[in-house]
Symmetry: none
Subunit: 182 residues, 4 copies
């Protein structure tokens, strides 16, 4: 049921999906949905909260590994890449209706999670600069801002000719560390 709702949310956006459509997909009437959920909001909450929990776990594990900054970042990219692939609904919901969710008290944790992601990246970039592994003229905050949207590119879209999560992660890391020039 949550899965069904997630698919619809991903297809057409959270707000554009009506409770009736979810119920139709589940083969029940819209009123009957409310035996399973308090509200449409709580379905969204379930999907989103689970997703962010996994993502933050990825980040914390990578930081806790204690590796060099470039290793920590590489681990983040590789593990979240898989998490992303398994939570496409949540991702699309956030991309389509970010404003809506973050304007509601119930979803305050979204901004909090994103702040932790941001802090992690910035502090790893700073560590790398200090250690001489990254260019000294790098502005960590601005660099993170540029990278930010790329972090959420869902790997392995279900279309023929798509790329695997690993391919996307590798390409991203190569681009990140070395750029496109020869």
């Amino acid at each position: 049921m949550v899965r069904l709702a997630g698919q619809l949310f991903a297809q057409k956006g959270y707000r554009a999906t009506t409770v009736r459509e979810i119920a139709d997909a589940a083969g029940i009437l819209s009123g009957s949905l409310y035996h399973h959920f308090d509200s449409k909001e709580s379905i969204g909450d379930e999907i989103l909260a689970r997703f962010l929990d996994e993502i933050l776990a990825d980040y914390r594990a990578a930081v806790a590994s204690g590796g060099e900054p470039n290793q920590v970042l590489a681990q983040i990219v590789r593990t979240t890449s898989k998490t992303l692939a398994g939570n496409r609904a949540a991702l699309t919901m956030l991309q389509n209706d970010w404003h809506y969710f973050t304007s509601q008290p119930r979803f305050r944790y979204l901004r909090a999670a994103l702040r932790e992601v941001e802090r992690t990246w910035i502090s790893q970039l700073e560590r790398g600069i200090e250690a001489g592994a990254f260019r000294a003229d790098l502005d960590p905050a601005l660099t993170y801002r540029l990278l930010r949207d790329v972090l959420w590119i869902p790997a392995a879209r279900n279309r023929p000719g798509g790329y695997s999560a690993e391919q996307v992660a590798d390409a991203f890391l190569e681009l990140l560390f070395n750029g496109i020039s020869t």
Copy 2:
């Protein structure tokens, strides 16, 4: 009036903004809006069409300049960076309600414009690879996909501590061509 609507659309999303809110902001009644516009949709159209026209003009001018691929890409990034800064409302509208707009016949031109942007990037990346300026192992389509979202980062957010359009463009180009490593 278009400006007012654009600001509201950018703040809360196109769909989440009601006609009444626009009218309120303009100090008139909601019905009076229709003296100036056919529909809510046509306000959105005006904002979006103008924006994409400017963006495509940037792209075509850069390509027409006939420079080396890296110069063409640099010009694109620098000129669209300014266009983006001047069309923040349109940008936010697209980010928030992309699904909605592209599902409506009237906004078919959105996908068309994005396709032209994609083609331009991919063909410049291909030219650069052939010319030996870009790494031979680069996958143009995948690389574009990674860059895509970054292209729309609106420069110079109006918040204290923001970066100028030039700063963002420069940082992006540096990252693009050379990566973050020393």
Copy 3:
């Protein structure tokens, strides 16, 4: 101006025609119409009142001629046939929006005029029956009811292959007096 409005009313119905459409047709703005007329209603009133005045004049003249019932009825059909042809707008308005007009106090005269028409027909039919010119088993009220709608068939529609007002009047009178059988 009244003529213009009448044409539009006839084409699409009184209610379906907006004040703005009338103004557009006149080459002015909708607000400017109100320098010429109090209201949309008063334009309709002008068209309708003139029409019914002419029709009632036709009826009274025929009755006043003092002829035999069949002659009176023939005169009515022939003269109103021309009046009808010259007032197609009014006719169409009444056919499309009869309910609307008669539900408004201002147009009370519509029902009054129709009542006079009815009374005239019924009394001529009765006179004819008494005089032995019309069949004795004729129910005057029911007969009038059957004829009623036919009375308003606008002669000579402006389409190729249409019939002239005279042709329609003659055919109607032949049908009325003799039926279709040999």
Copy 4:
């Protein structure tokens, strides 16, 4: 519910009847109507389509009976007379809002049905003329045009002193075949 709506449509016209009035009459809120119907249009469609189906069935059965033209026409008048009496709402809707309905694609079948009615009458009139049963100087198309409106006179209006469906049909046939003269 359809019945309720039909009564209101007949009383004040389809367009003049608001969805709220229908809901009020049903003792529910206007939004609740949409639990039962897609749209106001689909209520009208249901009423009108059923009516025209019955009418066309009457016509086809009469033609299929294979009788003489005057018998076919008599059967048409007698059977549709009953159908008319049972569909007064539909009839009034068509008389009041014919223009509106026929201007909408969904109600295209209205014109088609009327064309079939017209063809039937004209071809029976032609057959009767050939067979020598009807006057040789009859113009079938013009005659049909004169009769047309009479065909839809709903029998047995619910007012005291009304006529039964049979009475109206008989009077019409007598008038049609023999006229009013002795």
